[in-house]
């Protein structure tokens, strides 16, 4: 089961040379950009579904947000559209501050493959329409910090020990000095849960995209080494506070009657840590199931007699831990 390194994603921003930027503010520009992307995708030989952020189901939105295939600001961009490839690993969002953003996701953490996929689509669009590009500054974007490669790469890391041992601020500063940003994996810090953190490249200008990915992977390795070191230390000194946290999670998972998604994510985080620290043994399938309980969606019907989704989730979690009771 995934522990330190959860998944990876790459976003490529680009604009059309002849259209003004900031397509989120102008309906005509937005429509033209969307039509152009649509024309190319129709002939790409791949299957995409067309989604309008306003009419998107919450669970679809949630899945796409988790995979970084949907920018949170898309919800409030009035003319934006999303093209989602059927395998749910690639999306093209149009009419954000940039004319289009291609996002590619990999749950095996293959950043290079994500980059190749996104570049392939950008090249197909570039063969048909002239893209805003400069010999000195590379791809030109609405936000200057995206100029150059136009790339934002990110990896999702699970760092519970750094959080519990209050070492994260230090690691965040180190990452910043090394040209990366480490931040909680949610849009709002108050929602931070599951000890999941996103590590992304700070600058997108100067180096090739491949070199930037290499730097990012090195930084991710550095953060994971720090996490591993903290875990080893906790194991060595048998830190009571840490063992208390993981055993509490075990107790909640065994007996809780209502488990929200947030709870499930935190339980997954602490149980994974507990297994790693040798506090208890759990099968890989249990941890995978916990991850599914946290990230999957349980359909809630209108039937008043049907059990609440949180109750169904709790039952599922209990059944994973002790075969249901």
């Amino acid at each position: 089961m995934k522990d330190y390194f959860i998944n990876a994603a790459v976003r490529l921003h680009f604009n059309f040379e002849d259209l003004p930027f900031c397509a989120d503010l102008d309906e005509n520009t937005a429509r033209t950009a969307t039509e152009r992307v649509s024309t190319v995708l129709e002939t790409s030989g791949e299957n995409y579904v067309y989604l309008l952020p306003g009419g998107m189901q919450e669970k679809t939105k949630e899945t796409l947000l988790t995979r970084r295939l949907f920018a949170p600001e898309t919800s409030s961009a009035p003319y934006s559209a999303v093209y989602l490839r059927l395998d749910e690993c690639v999306s093209i969002q149009t009419a954000l501050s940039d004319h289009a953003v291609i996002s590619a996701y990999s749950d095996t953490g293959n950043l290079v493959h994500c980059l190749q996929t996104a570049r392939h689509i950008r090249r197909q669009i570039g063969q048909r329409y002239s893209l805003a590009k400069d010999v000195d500054w590379g791809y030109l974007t609405a936000h200057p910090c995206d100029a150059g490669t136009g790339m934002r790469a990110s990896v999702l890391l699970h760092l519970p020990m750094l959080h519990l041992s209050k070492q994260l601020d230090k690691i965040m500063r180190i990452m910043s000095a090394r040209g990366a940003i480490l931040r909680p994996a949610t849009n709002d810090v108050r929602d931070m849960t599951g000890n999941l953190y996103l590590l992304e490249n700070k600058a997108s200008l100067g180096k090739t995209a491949e070199a930037m990915l290499e730097d990012l992977m090195q930084n991710a390795q550095h953060a994971m080494d720090a996490e591993r070191h903290c875990r080893d230390k906790a194991l060595e000194i048998k830190d009571d506070m840490i063992y208390d946290a993981v055993w509490r999670a075990f107790g909640v998972a065994s007996y809780a009657r209502r488990v929200t998604k947030k709870d499930a994510l935190m339980l997954w985080s602490h149980l994974t840590l507990g297994v790693q620290l040798g506090a208890f043994k759990l099968d890989d399938k249990v941890l995978s199931g916990m991850w599914t309980a946290a990230c999957g969606t349980i359909a809630q019907t209108d039937d008043q007699k049907a059990p609440h989704a949180d109750a169904v989730r709790a039952q599922y979690v209990r059944s994973l831990i002790n075969g249901g009771n």
């Binding site: 930027f21 395998d87 936000h143 200057p144 996103l198 200008l205």
Partner: protein, 165 residues
């Protein structure tokens, strides 16, 4: 009362006021809901807003204007957004300083000639296939099959990531 325009996009009305510190000086910035989300997220875009504000440009540079869209450098500093592709070229002097401050570099290395169609391994292709089957099984409410597929996907994902996850 006329609503305040957003300091970042300049177009939408701004109900959110942020107290920010730029180069050691406290300032108040008004953002619309959309731009406030970017600021709150703490990602590279948010970091950029502070950095762009700290770029030192003289009055002449601030008033430089893009001949295509009419955007001035002063406006770019306030909003953090370029108006069009031509802005980069027409306002090259202050923009160069800004890009240097943002990334420590002033030009981009290209290797687009090596861009190739993605090479997907047979195992990765099989993984995508299994995921499609899983979605189908869930839709058909065939949960036994879905459970088998889920385990296969987990095993293959684990294998593809080299067990280092």
């Amino acid at each position: 009362m006329t609503p305040m325009p957003c300091d970042m996009c300049g177009a939408r009305s701004a109900p959110v006021a942020f107290s920010v510190i730029f180069g050691g000086k406290r300032a108040v910035r008004n953002y619309c809901i959309s731009c406030a989300q970017i600021f709150k997220r703490g990602d590279a875009h948010a970091a950029q807003i502070a950095t762009i504000n700290m770029v030192e440009a003289d009055e002449n540079e601030k008033m430089l204007c893009c001949p295509k869209c009419g955007t001035t450098f002063d406006r770019i500093q306030k909003t953090g957004r370029m108006g069009c592709a031509e802005c980069y070229r027409a306002l090259s002097s202050p923009t160069g300083k800004m890009l240097h401050k943002l990334s420590g570099a002033q030009h981009q290395e290209f290797n687009e000639s090596v861009v190739q169609a993605p090479q997907v391994s047979a195992e990765e292709e099989h993984l995508q296939l299994l995921k499609g089957e899983l979605a189908q099984a869930v839709n058909m409410e065939n949960y036994e099959r879905a459970a088998i597929l889920r385990d296969e996907i987990n095993a293959l994902s684990h294998h593809l990531s080299g067990g280092n996850v």
